[in-house]
Symmetry: C2
Subunit: 270 residues, 2 copies
DNA sequence: TTGCTCCTCACGTCACGTGAGGTGGC
DNA sequence: TTGCTCCTCACGTCACGTGAGGTGGC
């Protein structure tokens, strides 16, 4: 029969607060081995200490409670390791995002933001190979990277003739953190009607207002602000779809300063 | 008269969601320049874009909304820089904490946790110079570091004879994330009654149950678990005050593996 | 017997997100 | 005129924290 301790002592031993232990009991993450029927007092067993220590560390690393529960419930050690590795990977991504956010902030405060020049141009229609999807804001980045990689592979492996840089069509809503349609495409001569997830498509001709963003994608909102300002000041009516053309990106050079993205709105004829 | 845009377009241009803009309006962080009296439609000016861009970056870096407001409201650029620097400092601390949490997790999962040996010993009373304080959980670390530094300085500058390692008396509640009393002390011969914030005190004699923690303080909960287990299994009645003795710490060696902390409960005579 | 520990609600916090149900603008 | 945009509640989310008011245990 294992020794038990009161909630207060268990809190001291685990460095968790009593309120946190109450909460973990309520959501079924860590249940006391015994609850006194009359008094409601909770009693914890000493052999619950390792579990509590693990929980505290995972929570310190911001793992959501349902994920912690899944990890504790996974009988298979391989599965446990996989869940943990997945979380550590997300953490690293988050840290990287924080770092680039710091960089974006510094560059914003560094000043020197003449509004980017905006030009007009008529873009002819072009045939392309694209992957269409409707996606939620959280998944855009992952989805986009996968689709782009797939497209490039398909074009290379099938010996298609590229006629322009990688591009994308995006619902405006995607920039507002709402779900929407996204279509990465590679302009090619005579695209096959279907190739894996990819389909042939015709990017329609359009009169575009365009500006160019230089550098990492984290700061591309500045270009959107400049382009949108131009459109508003000149009272131009535009489509709800935004185009992007990736003139230079990480596949060309690892130096972010050399990356170059065109963003464009189609002018509505009326 | 500056050009205005609807909330949807402003959202697209800033990469903020419409709901977020609603929220920022409600809490007074970013107010539209005009709200239509009939329809309630919000209109934003193009010259609000830089502010919105700054807000988005600060929020990305988890700066709390009241702090963002304070920063935007600070007329003085020096004050702005100071607020920003303070936040970036907190961020760095947070990242460092995450890194040590990862290390603590890995060491926990690395296994090899034989319970630390627990011993009993009678500690004689000793005179000391200490700083007493009652502190909230959030401030403990900062307070403790400051108090410890002060004590060491006082002892050195006043040529006091140390008779033992740095120690501390802590209310048990501090380990449960609740406010409580903390008293860092340095045992010295003939302490002056008062020296800055420090006071002479007599650390009472006690019969202690003791265990030793090796390594960084992040993992000291393991020692508390072992010591608490020993006490529970042997049905020892203890005081609500915990003692710590810092046998080796960062002032001795930069190698965390060599740090050594004794933690102890006083046995209650009965 | 007396504090002290522990209990259960109910509500608050933080920064939004999620609908429901409805109206205004081009 | 018709969608489409935008509106306002009201409530939900996440992981607890904060009291209020009360009872059990040594």
């Amino acid at each position: 029969m294992s020794t038990t301790v009161t909630i207060g002592r268990f809190a001291t031993m685990t460095h968790l607060s009593v309120k946190t232990l109450h909460h973990y009991h309520q959501v079924g993450l860590l249940e006391p081995v015994r609850v006194d029927a009359d008094s409601g007092y909770r009693y914890y067993a000493l052999d619950q200490l390792p579990t509590a220590q693990l929980i505290r560390r995972l929570r310190e690393l911001r793992m959501p409670i349902p994920d912690v529960k899944a990890l504790l419930g996974a009988g298979d050690p391989d599965r446990r390791d996989a869940l943990l590795a997945a979380h550590l990977y997300r953490l690293e991504k988050e840290l990287a995002r924080t770092h680039s956010a710091v960089a974006a902030l510094r560059s914003l405060l560094g000043g020197g933001h003449d509004p980017a020049p905006v030009t007009r141009r008529v873009e002819p229609a072009c045939t392309a190979l694209g992957i269409a999807g409707t996606i939620a804001p959280d998944e855009i980045l992952t989805w986009w990277n996968a689709a782009r990689g797939e497209l490039r592979l398909l074009v290379r492996e099938n010996g298609l003739r590229r006629t322009g840089p990688l591009g994308g069509l995006f619902d405006e809503s995607l920039y507002r953190r709402e779900p929407g349609a996204a279509v990465p495409f590679v302009p090619v001569e005579r695209p096959p009607a279907s190739l894996g997830r990819a389909r042939a498509l015709l990017v329609p001709a359009a009169e575009l207002v365009v500006t160019t963003h230089y550098g990492v994608p984290e700061a591309i909102d500045l270009a959107h602000a400049d382009l949108g300002s131009f459109i508003a000041r000149n009272e131009i009516a535009v489509d709800t779809q935004i185009r992007e053309y990736y003139l230079h990106d990480e596949s060309d050079t690892p130096v972010p300063e050399h990356w170059q993205t065109e963003i464009a709105w189609s002018i509505l004829a009326n």
